[in-house]
Structure formats: structure tokens, C-alpha cells
């Protein structure tokens, strides 16, 4: 039965005052009734424009139809056939810019698109609770493939190849797999229990996952090339950038990567039960306007900060963060200072940060990205008091890269150059994808790259075999 509501079926969210005190999720997702009602908004378009918006091309009308029919097992099967991390994507995909942006229902005047992401999460959560155990696929090939990095790109390559009967080993530098899913995106947006469960699903395909293993250090690149017939580099763009303004090295100034890693991977939010500390400032300033800045700001609130201000050099209109995250942050009490850019951090007598000097900005002509360029307003400055600064101004290529993989050709930004069709690098048999090729992007784009690379690898192995 078609549901003609113009709005997405409402999702009950926890009150902002309550959720800013803990690391639990903002909402519990749809109930079965809500999910069916939302699924009923889908028109089952023949041409399914939504699919073109999804980097891994999920059969979206297919899995939604199965929800309409309350056949959740089939919904799951359709979903899992193309997406190995659906509970993750359903939560963190910027759907409004991907599948949902193309949705026919969303094109109707004043109408919201079908909540594809929420439905995807619904089916995936249902299956996780019902219990699932993918059966290993029989090995049908003799070649062995090494996957370096266990972020969404690496995990997808591994799953695709294992599914096709190849022996795959994944190497991860940190002590837990998952890449940014594990150390970057906070618990209240993506519970680590879910990340672990979806990774467990991939492990069950007989993918061998080795942690504490830094390719290029623990074992040299040349050695790994001898041992494996093909290699995939999914090492991410994890190195933090700094503004490098005076005072960057004061105590209390962190990169968002350090702050979030301490909180997520090392569980500093449970300090001192966990041994890794984090400074919980009273007044926190977060510099930047992307998802990473929102995550850092909302984590700081949850760790007990009294005020959290996001300092961004453009305005709300240019904010790169997801709309939903921005709104959640505002509801929870994060303040926003537009057209503001730090030019120095000020020390107290003990060399801890005690304030930030802020340059006010105006908007000039549009730049290469089409956004209006922020320009400093000479002489218009202010000082903000703070005892913690978190810089979230972007990441660059992983640092071990240039040293460990000398032969692989990089582009001028330090990212790996690949053939866009096969994702093969300048070294035959060595492939790359995800953030290390594109620069910081999204989970689902990294997974899309993983799929392309897996095809590239299989073709390559056929030609040399």
C-alpha cells in the first residue's frame, strides 16, 4: 500500500540534553511498523535513479520491496549481495548527497526522499540481532592476495575476493581492524560493536586478518611482493594537518585525529578504567567545518566540556559537514562561530593553551571549488578563552607510505596514482583505492573503490595466470 506522506517516517530521537551526556546512539532506528510504513513510500521506479547515486549500486527498490512484504531475510540477502557493511553505511553514508539525492519521491515538490539509509540500517540491524554466519566459500584459486589496511576499502576488496574463491590476508597497522570506522567515527554515531560484528562477517569468509602489522616496517614491501601475487593498498589518508599558527605545540592543542583516536580506539572516555588519558577542557574550540569537526565537538561535549565552539572560516551555507550532523551538534549545544579563523593560540604561565586569537573573515569571489573564498578582514580580531583546541582541518596521505612503498608512483598531492578502470598503480600487480587515492572522502566511496579494485585484481590474475 503506497504511503503518500511527503515526510520521511519520523524517527524518534533521544532528547539532546540526555544524549549529550553519554556515548549511546542518537536514535534506536525504525521499528518494524515504522520501517514498513517508510518502505511503502517507495514507488519502485522502473529506472531506479537511486541506484545510480549509490557507489556500490545496491538494488535499492529490491531490498525496500522485501521490507514492504515483511520478508526481512530476502531484504537482507539483496542488501548483503552488494554491500558487506550495510549497518555501517546505513548510519554514516551521506545519503542526502548519494542515493537519496536521486530518489524520485524527493523530486516531488516539498517532498522528502525515501529514507533509504534508515531502511538499510533497519534490515542490517534486524539481521545482526537474528544472528548471521556467512559460510566460507571454497578456495578455487591458488593465488594469494595481500590487502594492506583494514578500512572500508581494504575490507571490501578482501570480502569480494574471498567470495570469489581467493585466499586473502589483510594487514592492519593498529591493534584493531576497521580504519576510520574504528578509530575515527565516534561511538554515538557508529557503535564499535556494530563495526566489530560486520568485520566478523568478513572474517567468516576465511579472510585472515592480521593486526599490529605495519607493511613496509614489520615486513618490507619487497618481501610482500614476493609472497603475494597481487597487493591492494587501502592505507587511508590518516596523517593530520595542522594550521601551524603560533602556539600549535602548546599543551591542550590536539589534532582531531589524536583526540578521536584517544577517545575511540583507546577508549579514553572510560579513563581511568582505560589507561589512555585525554584532557577534558572546560571550554573547547574546534577548528574546521567538516564531519570530523562535528564528531570532535560532540565528543568533547560528552566528555564533560562546558562550552564547545566550532570556529569555521566560511558560513553555514558552505559548511561541508552533513546537515544532520550539524543539526545534532547544534541541538546538543555546540556553538558556531562563522567567518572566523584562528591566527594564534595563547599560552598560560604553564604553557597550556588559554585562548585563541581569532581573525574575522569576509566572503570574496568563488574559488575553484565554487564556494566563496574567505578573506581576512584586516584588523578585525577577537580573543576567545579556551583550555582545549582541536584542529579538524583535514588529513593527508599516510606517512609510512613514501618510505615503505618507494616504487609506487604518487601524484602531486602525495596520493597514489592509479588507472581509473582497474585501480592498478604504476607497479604491476599492486592496486590501490579509498582515501589514499582520492584524498579524504566517504566510507561508501572507499567501498566502491574496493569493488572496482577486486575486479581489477581478478582480471590481472587471469592475464598473468
Amino acid at each position: 500500500m503506497l504511503n503518500r506522506s511527503k515526510q520521511k517516517t519520523k524517527l524518534i530521537e533521544r532528547a539532546p540534553e540526555e544524549r549529550r551526556k553519554d556515548f549511546l546512539e542518537v536514535n534506536d532506528g525504525y521499528s518494524l511498523t515504522e520501517a514498513v510504513s517508510e518502505a511503502d513510500r517507495c514507488l519502485q521506479c522502473r529506472n531506479a535513479p537511486c541506484i545510480q547515486g549509490c557507489p556500490v549500486a545496491i538494488d535499492i527498490p529490491g531490498f525496500i520491496k522485501a521490507i514492504q512484504e515483511k520478508d526481512l531475510e530476502r531484504s537482507w540477502e539483496i542488501l548483503y549481495a552488494t554491500n558487506r557493511l550495510p549497518a555501517i553505511c546505513g548510519r554514516v553514508c551521506p545519503q542526502e548527497k548519494q542515493c537519496e539525492e536521486r530518489c524520485t519521491v524527493g523530486k516531488i515538490k516539498n517532498s522528502e526522499p525515501v529514507a533509504i539509509g534508515r531502511l538499510e540500517r533497519f534490515t542490517a540491524d534486524w539481521k545482526r540481532k537474528a544472528g548471521f554466519s556467512p559460510a566460507p566459500v571454497e578456495l578455487t584459486h591458488t593465488e594469494r592476495i595481500a590487502v594492506v589496511g583494514s578500512g572500508p576499502a581494504g575490507l571490501t576488496v578482501a570480502a569480494e575476493l574471498a567470495q570469489n574463491g581467493y585466499a586473502v590476508e589483510v594487514f592492519e597497522a593498529l591493534h584493531e581492524p576497521g580504519g576510520v570506522l574504528t578509530y575515527g567515527i565516534p561511538e554515538f554515531r557508529l557503535p564499535k560493536e556494530i563495526v566489530r560484528a560486520e568485520i566478523e562477517g568478513i572474517r567468516k569468509l576465511d579472510v585472515v586478518l592480521r593486526t599490529d602489522f605495519i607493511v613496509g616496517k614489520t615486513i618490507f614491501f619487497e618481501e610482500i611482493r614476493k609472497r603475494y601475487q597481487a597487493i591492494f593498498l587501502g592505507i587511508g589518508a590518516g596523517a593530520p594537518k595542522f594550521m601551524n599558527v603560533p602556539g600549535t605545540n602548546l599543551n591542550g592543542v590536539f589534532s582531531a585525529s589524536e583526540f578521536l583516536t584517544r577517545v575511540n580506539l583507546m577508549k579514553a572516555f572510560r579513563f581511568p578504567h582505560a589507561d589512555t588519558p585525554i584532557t577534558i577542557g572546560k571550554n573547547v574550540i574546534v577548528v574546521g567545518g567538516g564531519n570530523v569537526a562535528m564528531d570532535a565537538a560532540r565528543s568533547a561535549l560528552r566528555l564533560g566540556a562546558q562550552t564547545v565552539k566550532i570556529v569555521y572560516r566560511r558560513t553555514e551555507t558552505e559548511l561541508p559537514a552533513r546537515w544532520e550532523e550539524y543539526h545534532h551538534a547544534m541541538e546538543e549545544g555546540v556553538e558556531f562561530l562563522w567567518l572566523s579563523n584562528p591566527i594564534a593560540y595563547l599560552p598560560d604561565s604553564d604553557s597550556r593553551v588559554k585562548g585563541a586569537r581569532i581573525q574575522k573573515m569576509g566572503l570574496g569571489e568563488p574559488d575553484a571549488s565554487g564556494r566563496r573564498k574567505p578573506v581576512p578582514l584586516p584588523g578585525v580580531e577577537e580573543t576567545l578563552e579556551c583550555d582545549c583546541v582541536i584542529e579538524a582541518i583535514g588529513q593527508s596521505a599516510h606517512r609510512i607510505l613514501s618510505e615503505g612503498f618507494k616504487e609506487v608512483r604518487l601524484n602531486r598531492w602525495g596520493y597514489i596514482e592509479v588507472d581509473p578502470e582497474t585501480l592498478m598503480t604504476s607497479v604491476p600487480g599492486v592496486f590501490a583505492g579509498g582515501d589514499i587515492v582520492t584524498g579524504a572522502a566517504t566510507v561508501i566511496e572507499a567501498m566502491g573503490a574496493g569493488k572496482t579494485a577486486a575486479k581489477g585484481i581478478m582480471n590481472y590474475l587471469r592475464t598473468i595466470g
Binding site: 591493534h175 602489522f213 605495519i214 614489520t218 596523517a239 593530520p240 583516536t261
Partner: protein, 295 residues
């Protein structure tokens, strides 16, 4: 295919208290593919590991003091200063170390046929051991200076005898060797023989700073191993950033060794105090828990 091979484990094979608060521990892998096994094959002087004792543990960096590839063994020497090192000190032979990753950092730049000075202070003596060894075997003329507060803390001195052409010991209180700091010994040596071609100094930050000042005055490069607080050790967090020659470097991937003449020592000293208050709390908490457990 059935379930894959059992993952290798990292096991403490020996652990000995060699001085007050200082422990000498060897970790071995249960298989050729284990971390200690691979590290023991590939590590070079000057590199370190990240180690984590248990699920709640912090990842902490420790210098690789020695390796033995045949035994898949990595030797680490550490001083108990806080929660994580305290936890490590409680391990017994046969216990598992949850995580061991490495070898990290850039290896020391081992020269050949030069006149070199190698200085170790306190627990830094352990870090200098493989460096002195590599320099000696590469045909350099090696002078080693070891210093500690008092005789009990002057660790590993016998192990340096076969890899040093000259060995100078000093203690702050004069209980062994000459009385005074390693800088006093360094000043005397350069007064007698002039500047060295190159030197290394590893020890407390303040010691490395003072040695660097002497090297600067005499204008010879002095490698110092910087020890900022680290989180991942793979270049991913920037917590270990240091200022060298006014430029920002990440000690875990760009170092840990830098020419001490160019290091901003005061900034490093400040950054090491980053979590002082929080850590005091944690250490307290962890000792309380231990008392509860021992009841």
C-alpha cells in the same frame, strides 16, 4: 577451507628486575609469523615497538634493546614511571603481551670508520646498546659514556665492554666511576681529544638537551632519540610532534632520532607534561585496583 591457522601470540619468555624500577624483558612469538619473530628479523638500531599489555592498556613506545631472530625474540628494557609500565612489570614468564607492533621509526644512521661518541643516561642506556653495537661492528672508533644517579641504576655496563673501545662510567653521587653528570665526562673527553665526527645521546630529556648544547658549541652532529608522548606510533595522530630547526616533525615516523643541535628542547619538555594530572589519577586508580585484587 576450514578455519585459518591459530593467530600467533607474543609471550614473555623472561622478565628480570635489573635495577630499582627497571625491568629487562624478552618477548618471543609462538610462530615464525608472529610480531616478535618478524620484528627480530627486520629491526635495526634506533627503532622502537608499540606495546600494549592488556585490553584496557595504553599503547606505549619502547626502544628495541636487542633482537635474536633465531629465537624470534625481542628484548625490551623499561623503567616503571606510570600505569602502563607498572602493568608490564607485573607480567610473568609465560604471560601473553596483547599487542606488539614494530619495528617503528627510522633506524639510526650508522656511519663507518669514524670517531664516534655514544652517551647513555638512565634507562636510555638500554636504547644506546644496539646503536653502540652497530657502530662498533661497522668499524668505527667507539667511545661510550654511561651515566646514572647511583651505582644500582648503572645498567648493562658489562654488555658494553665488548662493543666499546673506551667505556666511561659516571654516577651523580660518585658511587661508581667518576662523580658527576655525563656532560662532565663529555666535556673532559672533548677537551682531551677535540670534537667527534658524530655522536649519539639517549637519556632523560634534560640530559639530551645539555649534551646537545656541548655538541653545538663544538659543532659536531649529535643524534638524540626524542621521546614525546605517542598514541599510535604510525604517523596518524600528530601527538608526537616536535620542533626541529623550527619545523614540525612527527617523532614516530620522521624520527625518533634528530640532530639535538636543532631540537626545540623546551617545547619537548613541556609537551611531555601534557597529561600529568590525569596520569597521576590513573596510577592511583590502578594501584587501588591492585590492592583490591591482592586481598
Amino acid at each position: 577451507m576450514t578455519s585459518p591457522i591459530k593467530p600467533p601470540q607474543e609471550i614473555v619468555s623472561t622478565i628480570t628486575k635489573i635495577a630499582p624500577k627497571i625491568y629487562d624483558m624478552t618477548v618471543v612469538s609462538t610462530s615464525e609469523e608472529g610480531s616478535a619473530a618478524l620484528i627480530s628479523r627486520n629491526a635495526k638500531a634506533g627503532q622502537f615497538v608499540m606495546i600494549r599489555a592488556d585490553e584496557e592498556g595504553e599503547r606505549i613506545p619502547l626502544t628495541i634493546a636487542q633482537t635474536e631472530a633465531k629465537k624470534r625474540a625481542v628484548r625490551l628494557i623499561f623503567q616503571v614511571v606510570g600505569t602502563s609500565t607498572h602493568k608490564l612489570s607485573l607480567l610473568k614468564p609465560g604471560d601473553q603481551v596483547l599487542n606488539l607492533a614494530g619495528p617503528l621509526g627510522k633506524p639510526s644512521e650508522v656511519v663507518e670508520g669514524k670517531k664516534v661518541l655514544v652517551i647513555g643516561g638512565g634507562v636510555g642506556i638500554a636504547a644506546i646498546l644496539p646503536i653502540a653495537g652497530s657502530l662498533y661492528h661497522a668499524g668505527n672508533d667507539v667511545t661510550v659514556v654511561l651515566g646514572a644517579r647511583t651505582r644500582d641504576l648503572l645498567i648493562l655496563k658489562d654488555e658494553f665492554k665488548p662493543i666499546a673501545h673506551r667505556l666511561v662510567l659516571c654516577t651523580d653521587d660518585g658511587s661508581e666511576g667518576r662523580k658527576g653528570f655525563v656532560t662532565d665526562a663529555m666535556n673532559d673527553l672533548v677537551a682531551n681529544t677535540g670534537a667527534y665526527d658524530v655522536g649519539w645521546a639517549v637519556g632523560p630529556t634534560i640530559m639530551m638537551k645539555m649534551c646537545s648544547e656541548i655538541a653545538k658549541r663544538l659543532d659536531f652532529p649529535l643524534w638524540t632519540s626524542l621521546n614525546p608522548i605517542m598514541v599510535d606510533g604510525t604517523g596518524m595522530c600528530g601527538g608526537c610532534r616536535v620542533l626541529v630547526g623550527n619545523e614540525m616533525f612527527f617523532a614516530c615516523v620522521d624520527g625518533p632520532e634528530f640532530d639535538g643541535r636543532l631540537v626545540d628542547w623546551d617545547n619537548l619538555l613541556l609537551r611531555q607534561k601534557q597529561f600529568k594530572t590525569e596520569e597521576a589519577d590513573s596510577f592511583h586508580h590502578c594501584r587501588l585496583e591492585n590492592q583490591l585484587h591482592s586481598r
